[in-house]
Point group: C2
Chain length 213, copies 2
């Protein structure tokens, strides 16, 4: 029914996450109304999205050249690593301006149902990184959902089994490095929200983690 | 902060209707994880979306060649025209299989706030079409919202001022053609919905337009 060129672009859009067939049709129609110049610019951007980027050899964030600007910045504290699931998490945290350490991007979270195991994300790379240089603190900033929390727990366990089996942050008995202290982001009420609408689990955590003035 | 190639594709996605900066970032990240082969295919589809299509010279629907398959179909009733705002409306109505007439695509609706007047959509073309051949019925299937209804009212008035100023569907006193009968789609409760959640205006119309068994 739809002309082939439109059908093709609708298919392409439908493959993107969060875009259903209706939205895909609407987007295709929008493109149809655009100038050819704009279509060419969009087309080139799609074609080149991967060509201009690599993964940082240290933190595995996406970057124009490796090591990434954060890993090569002399002013960043290299022994505090914030472990995140996705590159976008890095950009979100960077926008706050609160964090002066470095990152480790896992590129996903453990999810047996999606067939994603420890070897499919950059966990081994994290363990090697911890063993190679002395890390003071590891902030496990995975998402506060079942997959993210399972990933954090898995990493915690893996670290406790590393050769230097001393207490966290203590000196290694046999190994030549210290195990890092582990932390996670605070859980609680999101700002701008209302207690009335907070879900049960968030409110429980906000209560348990209440801060005294 | 984001690599340039990513920034560029985020910008391109953000320009699409209904895609905010957050979604654009997520889509960009998704493309980054795709195979180059898939990116090339997407890129080509974007580039060619307009190249493979023209507007039908009769109904202004998008088509691979003009006149479109509907206008050149001998089995369609040519003197019943369904006037719609967008090509996607044609595809939605065609899917029902209920309509055997032809279409007229306005490519928009009147919207003074967006600076869209009668000359910016295919209203003049519709009036010419009505005068050129005898149309029995004109179904004004613009959207049931303020812009769509204003457009329908405008078209109704324009038609009543056409040279053949006889009663609708009656014979022209001086002109050589009959004015078409005008109709609009039924308004009422959408199927699958619940009365409890119907908005005030829809429920009012459903009551006023109630059908006796």
């Amino acid at each position: 029914m739809l002309p082939r060129a439109i059908q093709k672009i609708v298919e392409e859009f439908s493959r993107l996450p969060g875009i259903g067939p209706k939205s895909a049709e609407r987007l295709a129609l929008h493109l149809l109304r655009s100038e050819q110049r704009d279509l060419d610019s969009f087309s080139t951007a799609v074609e080149n999205v991967k060509k201009g980027t690599v993964l940082c050899e240290i933190c595995f964030n996406i970057t124009e050249k490796s090591p990434c600007p954060i890993c090569s910045d002399k002013n960043r504290t290299k022994n505090i690593i914030c472990v995140v699931e996705e590159p976008l998490d890095v950009f979100a945290i960077e926008k706050t301006g609160e964090f002066k350490g470095v990152y480790h991007v896992l590129h996903g979270a453990l999810s047996p149902i999606d067939n994603i195991g420890p070897d499919d994300i950059k966990i081994q790379e994290l363990l090697i990184r911890i063993q190679k240089s002395e890390i003071k603190e590891l902030i496990l900033a995975t998402n506060p959902n079942p997959k993210g929390e399972a990933t954090a727990i898995y990493i915690t366990q893996k670290i406790s089994f590393l050769p230097a089996t001393s207490a966290r942050g203590g000196s290694a008995s046999g190994g030549s490095y210290k195990l890092p202290a582990l932390s996670h982001l605070a859980h609680g009420l999101p700002l701008g929200g209302e207690i009335e609408y907070a879900d049960f689990e968030t409110l429980s955590r906000a209560l348990r983690g209440r801060v005294t003035y």
